[in-house]
Symmetry: C2
Subunit: 316 residues, 2 copies
Amino acid sequence: MTRSIELADLEDASCLIVGGGGFLGTHLCQALTKAKAKVCVFSRTITPIPDWQNVNAVQGTLENTELLRTAIKDSEFVFHLLGGVSPASVDSSLKLEIDHSVSASIRLFEMCCEYNVRRVIFVSSGGTVYGIPKSVPISEEAPTFPISPYGVNKLSIEKYLHYFWKSAGLDYAVMRVANPFGSFQVPGRGQGVIATMLKNAIDGKALEIWGDGKAIRDYIYAPDAARALALAAVYQGAERIFNVGSGLGRSVVDIATDILRLVDRDGFPVVYKDARPTDVPANVLDISRIHREFNWTPKTPWDQALRETANWVRGC
Amino acid sequence: MTRSIELADLEDASCLIVGGGGFLGTHLCQALTKAKAKVCVFSRTITPIPDWQNVNAVQGTLENTELLRTAIKDSEFVFHLLGGVSPASVDSSLKLEIDHSVSASIRLFEMCCEYNVRRVIFVSSGGTVYGIPKSVPISEEAPTFPISPYGVNKLSIEKYLHYFWKSAGLDYAVMRVANPFGSFQVPGRGQGVIATMLKNAIDGKALEIWGDGKAIRDYIYAPDAARALALAAVYQGAERIFNVGSGLGRSVVDIATDILRLVDRDGFPVVYKDARPTDVPANVLDISRIHREFNWTPKTPWDQALRETANWVRGC
């Protein structure tokens, strides 16, 4: 760590969150607003929340070139959270996925070069870019052999960022975020196992578990992840790729147990469904680099994070 | 090495070379024909050569889906040599490049799955996928941070192959070929520094050197590289990624010296031009893996390879 970095370093910085209307984007928006940054959210769907009163929200897609150009023009930092499609999707239309993720990102990076953006912070996927790891926890230096198109495309975008840095001087940070969870993650959309299980438990429905429920994942509370993303803008060291996770592995069965205890429904029915082909058996991120470089650790205890998420799910 | 492999193992095997009309494809065609394989060449441009009398040549692009389908249908092994555009191209139209390289390859792989192709042998780029190496020679385990779109796309295709293997069982070999040279490489097309310098030297023109001429590259004689590609079809071991190079580094100045000696033009003018932004300072491949697994080494001595290439350039 060259020097201690903190969110206060972002005061008055112009931050653009592309894809900021989503779940993690909303948390990032809150973190940046709290740090007194000037925030613009560019997203296909905008869901106004109380904290957004001082946020400039622009509704658009990366295809709206002129709208995007206007948003980028005065931005110092661009957070790229556009995910393409869901990690669970398979090869129904791989070309379309590439168009919407890789090619769209390249257009964004070209504009960032044009307007001398200080740094692009790209939210990559710690859960998919490594593929099936030889061992856990997985360091940023581990081999990357994704087993889903989603993961391949995230990795391609990372590589294109490196190319734009080398060829045009566009500075960047790649944030390989584990499985984020927390408020604003709408249950039942095929993503966010915690939100979906919480919702079912609260509603008195059976919990669905894909596969045998023993697959190990690294779950990171969204407000903690958002803080890491924000810090990446003001980081001054030499690293460019960071795992953002809890560093801990939990099975789906573990989580189901914790959730049923939380909602006081012991012995509740659990339904097992077929595993998805794009699921890896184990994924836990080594977070020693970001701890060392950012002095960042996930602050929120698991039980508290789960309880806060449950409270949000109850109201949604 | 599980057992000794040799070209004779390819006798009667149905081999499709996609992009086989090019320079390296022509050498591969010769190697496969010599091994008595049944060869089909699918290429945008077909240049018939004497050895092709028993070769089935199909003129088409990956966009000609039905033509490609017919070619793939009865193939056991598919050699994928389609390069997209030249390594020297930069970001004039990155999306188009992705369409023609990554997306087109995915369509090819989908068809290979459909027709149960036994193995895809993909010619990747040992000169670009690694980017700027921390040290040379570069092993297959080294980090991959390409500094050209060409390299990023080659890497994406490698990763998609891994995905198709994991999701659909499509077997594959990635051959990271260094800078190939030899007959059939037409001089003066912005690729193939050896062919171009030989042509200029033979024609009595000044040799052009990009940059300071000290950039180190690994040059592999095309017939040797082609033999490695052919062996990859019948390899039975567990590795999937192979460097294919000489394992030796030569500077452009070294080569110019050797060429001028060969054509007996000592003290000949050399013109220095600006380096290309996509050039890496040094690239030498570690070829111990392919030596161990295939018992392959580049057999042709440098002087002989250069002389044979010069003879071809003289006649073209």
